[in-house]
Symmetry: C2
Subunit: 251 residues, 2 copies
């Protein structure tokens, strides 16, 4: 591989040039950056070198390649997901879906809904304060906004609370599962969210239609009643390029 | 490139085999997985194919390559960063560093401290409710735990509040900048944190000694007084493989 004076491989230098041009604002959100052919001509390098330079920037999530079109500066126009506000009792109490709070203007659609009863995995049993392998109702679904897949979610509820109610049905009715829990005197009053980040699995990349260089956010939420009894554990996987999470708290 | 019957390139199939072996628990946290030589022998493939298979798993953050040693299942033993609890007034009021709350057992060390005064960039001015390019004191530092770099942070404070106090000094004294703000009757009472995720820049990869396939968390925190006057904006970049963020809130 040809190297320059300072021993950085040439493709890294080319990547650095394009990165600097983006940082300086010469190319901004959504702009087309030089493609393989442009870089080959501009730097007098082989196609493999030009491709490797672009590959570095794609893996960094700085640019995205659109098949048959070109390479573009990635645009970050995230949805703001406001922890405390979205889970306000006003919402589900009024029969509105919690998720609507996220999608200012737009409206979330769900697909791929699967509902079943299964033994709780160890980490779910722990979060819900159940015995290992106690039965839980499991609700899996995908959320889309204007056709774009945004997140995958799997909720787990103690089978005792869910059985024979709309919680165990694909359509949970107005206000969703929180409204149904409230009807049983088990309204969620407290929430804990744990957030971590990682690269997606190939299955998640497909389900969320992720571009290369896009990490996912895992948000693990436990909903508790006023008496601090856990009633739901929700395991969410969010497209990291689609969200900003906001949390407010007091000192 | 040799392809199998179902047209997935061979290196992807090999990656899938290793991924499945990790998912099934055959290889668990910290275990050595087959390296290039092992995969070449096992699958009868060229070194380039074996390397490409491992590269897929490294980019997914599933395994890490230790130079001169081998390839290992990545261990995720994160530090829990508890938003509300860490910023409890009890801590800085008692002269303890806020960061100590994160490092159960261990103790954070800071290095690379840089303090200066500069015109506020537009997004900082907005967060602090200042005029564009108003003077701010900027404090940059890196946090390490047991030698491991964990996060980079840059705090911005209105120059009016910081000038002539320890806030503008490298050593801010017991309890840190929040204790110094409290002495001026400007104790933080409310916090807003915004969390987003992305791949690191090459500079960040170096400063945080990140393995390939490791995203970073950006945490942007605004500290406000009881009267909701912003007094600090802190831009943090966390090693995504080192942290779980926890937030508690009420419905």
């Amino acid at each position: 591989m040809p190297t320059s004076e300072n021993d950085a491989p040439l493709y890294r230098e080319i990547a650095e040039d394009v990165r600097a041009a983006i940082a300086s604002g010469r190319f901004s959100d959504g702009d087309r950056v030089p493609g393989e052919n442009d870089l080959m001509k501009q730097y007098g390098v082989a196609r493999a070198t030009a491709r490797q330079a672009l590959s570095v920037l794609i893996d960094e999530g700085v640019v995205v390649a659109i098949r048959g079109s070109g390479v573009y500066v990635r645009t970050f126009r995230p949805l703001r997901r406001h922890g405390p506000r979205r889970l306000s009792r006003d919402l589900w109490g009024a029969g509105r879906a919690v998720w609507q709070a996220d999608a200012a203007g737009g409206s979330f659609e769900t697909d791929g809904i699967e509902v079943d009863t299964a033994p709780a995995p160890a980490y779910v049993a722990r979060a819900l304060g159940l015995d290992d392998r106690a039965p839980v109702v499991r609700r899996h679904r995908r959320y889309r906004l204007a056709q774009r897949p945004m997140q995958l979610a799997t909720s787990y509820l103690p089978a005792d609370l869910a059985r024979g109610t709309a919680i165990a049905e694909p359509d949970t009715g107005p206000g969703g599962i929180y409204a149904r829990l409230a009807e049983q005197g088990r309204a969620p009053a407290h929430f804990t969210e744990e957030v971590r980040v990682r690269m997606p699995t190939p299955d998640e990349s497909r389900a969320l239609a992720l571009q290369r260089g896009t990490p996912v956010l895992d948000v693990l939420r436990t909903a508790l009643t006023a008496e601090h009894t856990p009633v739901e554990f929700n395991e969410m996987t969010l497209d990291g390029s689609a969200y900003v999470l906001q949390y407010d708290f007091d000192a």
